[in-house]
């Protein structure tokens, strides 16, 4: 039987939507013989989106060489189709959800900091372990908790109640959500990712980032589950829980190890020290993606 709250959400008419062009791009990306031209023309149909994608492609997060990437065509040539689709996905989801207002703005800000930090940390883990997840670990990290936005927006009081409960009991946010709302942000995020037609790995990460053993995309989900914990350990947390943990005892860790990745050689202390100042990078990412900046950019 489907949970009450999911039924309610299913019938909400004012749920945020994705820009139609983004939906189209993701659809295109699934077809085997899509061309660079198809994708770039499609994104161009939504000029603000195209501008944001280009801006992101030129930011320190993606740019490798010294040359300006001035067209989407060039971006795809230089970065690859996958990376441009990753950027389009992140930028459009963040634009759709990031502009939503909440009664508790301060929590919203923390939420985005947490998500971006998780994405950035996931990317570092990918690099360190040479997993070659091709940026999907970053998008997965960025979007793993999107269910929380919906909960915060449509069930604000109960969500806040769950937040207090998780602080009081020092339990995880999803346990508290389950108790107060009868559903978790993972289920809601999974529902939203499917409704929006986001790539399947994103739906998977949303649903399973606290139980990577159940995931289909085990490597991406495991990396995100670890990155999520590390982001919290840096006090970049959006739930109330500030639990301590042993990374080597985590499911995600075991899964990656079983897959043959050299987990024992990772210098965990060093990774932890390195992410000490990830806050700066998070801020940079936010300023790259924020609307105001984009407008200033356009007027300049």
């Amino acid at each position: 039987m489907e949970r009450m709250i999911l039924q309610t959400i299913r019938h909400l008419e004012d749920l945020p939507t994705l820009p139609s062009v983004a939906v189209e791009v993701m659809g295109l990306s699934r077809s085997p013989d899509v061309s660079i031209k198809d994708i770039s023309e499609c994104i161009h149909k939504d000029p603000p989106l195209a501008a944001k994608v280009l801006k992101m492609a030129n930011s320190s997060f993606y740019r490798r060489g010294s040359q300006d990437i001035d067209t989407l065509h060039r971006a795809i040539l230089l970065m690859g189709l996958n990376e441009v689709i990753n950027i389009t996905t992140s930028v459009s989801v963040l634009t759709s959800l990031g502009s939503r207002k909440s009664q508790g703005q301060s929590l919203r800000k923390k939420f985005w900091h947490h998500c971006i930090a998780t994405g950035l940390i996931a990317r570092r883990i990918d690099t360190r372990l040479r997993l070659r997840l091709q940026g999907r670990e970053f998008v997965g990290g960025l979007l793993h908790d999107i269910g929380k936005i919906i909960l915060d927006e449509y069930f604000h009081d109960q969500f806040m109640q769950a937040h207090s409960l998780s602080i009081e009991r020092q339990c995880s946010m999803f346990e508290a959500e389950n108790e107060v709302l009868g559903a978790t942000h993972m289920e809601i995020g999974h529902f939203l990712a499917q409704k929006w037609g986001l790539p399947p790995y994103i739906a998977d990460v949303s649903l399973n980032h606290h139980r990577p053993q159940d995931a289909r995309f085990k490597d991406i989900t495991s990396v995100v589950s670890i990155a999520n914990l590390l982001a919290k350990a840096k006090e970049l947390s959006c739930g109330g829980d500030t639990m301590s943990f042993v990374l080597k005892d985590q499911q995600g860790w075991h899964i990656l190890k079983k897959m043959g990745h050299p987990m024992d050689s990772i210098d965990l202390e060093r990774i932890t020290f390195e992410i000490e100042d990830i806050g700066e990078e998070v801020k940079e990412y936010i300023s790259t993606i924020s609307d105001q900046e984009i407008q200033e950019h356009a007027h300049a």
């Binding site: 914990l229 590390l230 919290k232 350990a233 840096k234 006090e235 947390s237 500030t242 301590s244 943990f245 042993v246 990374l247 080597k248 005892d249 210098d267 965990l268 202390e269 060093r270 932890t272 020290f273």
Partner: protein, 288 residues
């Protein structure tokens, strides 16, 4: 750029061979290692020892350390001058918080369940006492009214007599108290003019003693600790000395006990015995 000879009148230079001999001597006796790029630092620090002993150059100083039967007293002065005693109350607050909110309650709960209300902490390399007294304050805060039910001891040791002397006096200036929360400052310090004295309730928990970490026999005797703080001490040791000492610390801990090292120090290449625990904003090492 090397300093012109004529400007360098205050000190006799330290020839490379003597630097190496002294460096090895210090390392052998304390585990503190001066790498080649720290030669100038060692030279500066030992300059005063030359003066105090009325010696013309570093050769003579080395021979005195090595062959003079009276050298053991000089050895302690030497340790005083080669160690950095930099410390403060509530240093690295996230670590103190991890101790206060996670590690300590966990240990207390376990002990209480076992029916033995005994708590043993060790501040290894306690310098002027800021760290062990901080731990004492936190323990009192956490135990609250239950303090009298518990047998608490915080051992605090250092190789520097000078630092230990300040620790015994337990009087501090405002600057070393800069991270102390205001209510804690009010509760556990007695203001004397511009100075602050640690109150007796906290002082009585702390037992100060001279201990050289290189003295394996005595270090072995430090047994049965629940939590060890050995922060900003290992940085002076080279890898071999670190490995030896850290494996000793492991043995000094009770099962389930924690080791905290300096907030940017790592045991990654030093020991695999511990379990690395991520606390909010801080790392700890657990013995299982």
């Amino acid at each position: 750029m090397p300093m012109p000879e004529y400007l360098n009148t205050s000190q006799p230079g330290m020839p490379d061979e003597i630097f190496r001999l002294l460096r090895d001597f210090i390392y052998e006796h304390s585990g503190i290692f001066f790498s080649d790029n720290k030669k100038a630092q060692l030279e500066n620090r030992l300059a005063l020892r030359l003066k105090m002993n009325n010696l013309p150059d570093f050769d003579k100083y080395y021979y005195m350390l090595k062959y003079d039967p009276q050298a053991s007293r000089e050895l302690r002065a030497l340790f005083d001058s080669v160690t950095t005693n930099e410390t403060s109350f509530f240093r690295s607050p996230p670590q103190i918080q991890a101790f206060q909110e996670k590690a300590l309650p966990e240990i207390l709960e376990k002990r209480a369940a076992q029916g033995e209300k005994i708590l043993r902490l060790w501040s290894a390399g306690c310098s002027t006492g800021d760290e062990p007294y901080t731990l004492g304050m936190v323990v009192r805060e956490v135990l609250g009214e239950k303090t009298p039910e518990w047998d608490v001891k915080i051992f605090a040791s250092d190789i520097s007599e000078k630092a230990l002397k300040s620790a015994r006096a337990a009087v501090y200036n405002d600057y070393t108290l800069r991270s102390v929360p205001p209510d804690i400052k009010k509760k556990y310090f007695i203001q004397e003019g511009s100075q602050f004295r640690v109150c007796d309730d906290v002082r009585m928990l702390v037992e100060l003693q001279y201990l050289n970490f290189n003295d394996d026999k005595r270090v072995k005797l430090m047994r049965g600790f629940d939590i060890i703080f050995c922060r900003n001490v290992l940085i002076y040791f080279d890898d071999a000395a670190k490995k030896r000492f850290v494996s000793q610390l492991y043995d000094n801990l009770n099962p389930g006990g924690y080791l905290f090292i300096g907030h940017s120090e790592s045991l990654h290449n030093i020991s695999r015995a511990f379990k690395l625990v991520h606390f909010p904003g801080a790392l700890g090492y657990k013995k299982e």
